[in-house]
Subunit: 217 residues, 2 copies
């Protein structure tokens, strides 16, 4: 398979973890979102939204990380990343969606650009926006996880599910943006537990070939 | 089943359509998002994110509209709202996510409040924000639908899928906000076709008991 991604993209991070967990070999085509690689005519034909990730599996061109995760779990069922029970599956997907729908879309490049360039806000005001939605979202995630006996070693029980694939990039991004994640005890614990697994560790932004040299120090 | 919703919520609209299509009887508890019903202690216990919808099915308390839609399709498989083939399912879910993750989260009450109250923007500037993301998102949806032979009477082939449940509220909201939807030919055609089905028509915001009297004219 071929993954169009970027080291910094949380959505591409989710997909890399899934591919690693499923043991699927894949090559990465790095799309530099800062330079604007995603706006090329060639990429637009693959992904009209001009965002990452896109996963190409034979003739299938797959977009939207959540749709890709479900696809991978359907086509490569081992290890399963969703529980068998419908209500449990709904809980896992709801945790995913806190990150996928309620936090991440507020922080992506096009939003940041609009806030600074169209609305005329400073970098400081942009950071306040980012911090606000990260902390609101992580608090919601923590409240969902902490008080629920369905939470185990991972977000749902003692096996990795799609919820962990969405939580880890989100908590990681919060750390990168200087958000104090220490107060989100359960989310932080699950984040650290997941990163002990090679599938998560190797998918980190810092472990990608396109991670910038100057950020390595 | 019991649905905590609100006439204006696009996410609750999606769930109402699914319940209607599946022929599942449900009662609605209206949460006035403008008055702040969602912030009550009682509702917070049900939905810590303090958003709608929440669907209660026996002992199961389900949140996040996309997770709820998948749950309903799993528990009540007739009529199916996802194709059988994995790549086709991924296409349907990707169309859903354009609305669920890329448009709708930018327009919800908490965002509008932040933009006007925290960032100090006028109603006019807020409307520019709303229009910008609605038109960007609808253009992406249109591009995904228009050039693809997988699009049929509905978003995917000639049967209703979850993609239609996400498209219809989004196109409807655009109309309510004065966005000219006429340029999104395919999306508009599918929107109009869907609204000929009672399951969609009866789920419209305007058809809900909590739709404000003063807006009926």
């Amino acid at each position: 398979m071929k993954l169009y991604g970027y080291w910094r993209s949380l959505a591409a991070f989710r997909v890399r973890i899934a591919l690693n967990l499923k043991g699927i070999p894949f090559e990465v085509e790095s799309m530099d979102l800062v330079k604007g690689d995603q706006f090329s005519d060639a990429y637009r034909k693959i992904n009209p939204q001009m965002v990452v990730p896109t996963l190409v599996d034979g003739d299938s061109v797959l977009t939207q990380s959540m749709a890709i995760l479900e696809y991978l779990d359907e086509c490569h069922p081992e290890p399963p990343l969703l529980p068998a029970d419908a209500a449990e599956r709904a809980r896992v997907r709801a945790i995913c969606m806190i990150s996928v729908a309620d936090i991440h879309p507020l922080l992506v490049p096009r939003i940041r650009k609009y806030i600074t360039q169209e609305m005329g806000h400073s970098e400081e005001e942009l950071m306040a926006w980012i911090h606000n939605w990260m902390t609101t979202g992580l608090a919601a995630m923590e409240e969902k996880l902490a008080g629920d006996s369905a939470t185990g070693t991972y977000c749902h029980g003692d096996s990795v599910t799609l919820a962990d694939l969405c939580l880890v990039p989100q908590v990681g991004a919060a750390g990168m943006f200087g958000v104090d994640t220490g107060t989100y005890l359960t989310a932080k614990r699950i984040f650290e537990t997941c990163l002990q697994l090679p599938a998560f560790f190797d998918a980190r932004p810092q472990a990608q070939p396109d991670f910038p040299e100057e950020m390595k120090s």
